[in-house]
Symmetry: C2
């Protein structure tokens, strides 16, 4: 497919969408895939889905300084614009919006979007301010691109919950489309950060996926929240290089704490089981969402 049009400024991005809308027939919708670049097959799956469902597909590549804490990997976060454009072309993206930090933040930004309680759990507890930085840049990007639909990978499930909550609370006219996590053949969730792993770490990193698969069984067998957390931590500890940041279970998509002492399989609402594990300086996350139906099917051995 042909290369996407590369746009670097907010003004040109706005014009491109306005021109599309003016020219489009009634059903000409705009699909948007916001990313931090270094695109992998997970991003590609979002772009392909956006391509199927929209008349115009906009990819953004912006490593957002606002969502990195002090000492995190903002500086060394992997960047490869040329490869990103090849992936974008292969997936049929029309526009690659690649603004500079100066274009996105011409002045120190005073206005921020915060999303309250649900940003204080899971990754939000380990990375204070992270989700406010995400919410703020996504609000900005939504205001610039004005998409009808925006596609987010469920590998970052909490991010999906935060962005959906923001869109709902602030009446942002966009449909948030959560898309399934894409995995390597051995189960490792795709992530731009996987490139940081050395050979041994990479081999042991499958412990996240294997632990989540075990969690499904433990829930089906009647574990309550505390028991599940303990078992998951023990499971991760089987990999000598793995250091658990958190191993959690919360309701989905509200991210509420399940009642203590009650078998999770009896709650009757979807559960997010989520892990964050460090391998050396690299922090990996993964999760699965289990619906009551899935849990019941696991119980009956289907």
């Amino acid at each position: 497919m042909s290369a996407p049009r590369v746009i670097r400024t907010v003004a040109e991005m706005r014009r491109a969408v306005a021109d599309f809308r003016k020219a489009a027939v009634d059903s000409g919708s705009v699909g948007f895939v916001p990313t931090m670049g270094y695109l992998h097959e997970g991003h590609a799956s979002l772009l392909r889905r956006a391509r199927e469902e929209n008349g115009l597909v906009v990819l953004s590549v912006f490593v957002n300084p606002l969502q990195f804490g002090p000492g995190e990997d903002f500086e060394r976060y992997p960047r490869d614009e040329k490869r990103d454009l090849e992936v974008a072309a292969a997936c049929g993206a029309d526009i690659a919006f690649m603004p500079s930090a100066a274009e996105m933040y011409p002045n120190p930004p005073l206005a921020r979007v915060t999303v309250g309680e649900i940003t204080g759990k899971l990754c939000g507890r380990s990375r204070p301010g992270h989700f406010d930085g995400v919410a703020t840049v996504v609000a900005k990007l939504f205001n610039i691109v004005q998409p009808d639909r925006a596609y987010f990978g469920l590998k970052d499930a909490q991010q999906v919950a935060v962005v959906a909550q923001m869109a709902r609370d602030l009446n942002i006219p966009v449909e948030i489309v959560p898309c399934p996590t894409v995995r390597e053949p051995d189960g490792l969730a795709l992530s731009s950060r996987n490139v940081y792993l050395n050979g041994e770490e990479r081999a042991q990193a499958t412990i996240l996926y294997r632990t989540l698969e075990r969690a499904r069984e433990w829930i089906a067998a009647g574990a309550d929240a505390d028991r599940l957390r303990d078992r998951m931590k023990q499971s991760i500890a089987e990999s000598p290089l793995a250091d658990t940041d958190y191993a959690e279970v919360v309701t989905w998509p509200g991210l509420g704490d399940p009642p203590a002492g009650r078998p999770l399989r009896d709650l009757g609402e979807p559960l997010l089981v989520a892990l964050a594990v460090r391998f050396g300086k690299t922090r990996l996350i993964d999760n699965m969402i289990f619906t009551p139906e899935e849990v019941a099917a696991t119980c009956s051995g289907k």
Copy 2:
């Protein structure tokens, strides 16, 4: 003029604007006047300006609980929908968006917009959380109405600065149009809260305007910030029923503190001189913005 169309729901409001944009020729812009109702001539001036400059004029009337603190006048804030619709009709508004609190906040809102430093001064210091409540509801209204231009009265100068900062920082595609304060013949700035004043308070309330006029002279005569604040407080104290909340001078529109000890007339940037004064339970605000040119003209007696 004919009565505006009254819209109560977000969905219908969106449809009305979308229908207008679809039918409109290229120059069909949407002008928006967000208010808390109980419209007076100040609001009317905003509506008339919006009417002159846009193809569609949307008024919103919503007393936003999020911007009132505990013990403030949310419950007793004056409301008169019938009169508001008469004013809207007389000014040629096309749509009056009058949502319920349940329509605007169907769930307790987790997502908020905060605007940092500039919300901590002046009214923000006296009313903690007020401007975050303003920014949040204005962001929501902008997302619902999606106006090209939004009109705000400079009587609430800090509100104008906060909303403009938010729009800039979050890339909201709207032009903020600040409009001059409208005053009674004796100088009292129009405010929905003036209705709270009894006869004696109303008579003494002109002290705000008179103090601002004196401030112009004091600046021209070489006062620095501290001296101006002191003289303004003394001036307000001439009215026995007046109780000063603040008497301040800051740069405009950044709301920065002027350097201490330096004549304000020498700063060479616009100044916002702002007052908040209580008369019994009623808190009135007023302000003037003095440009360097005006100050120079006052100096030379023009």
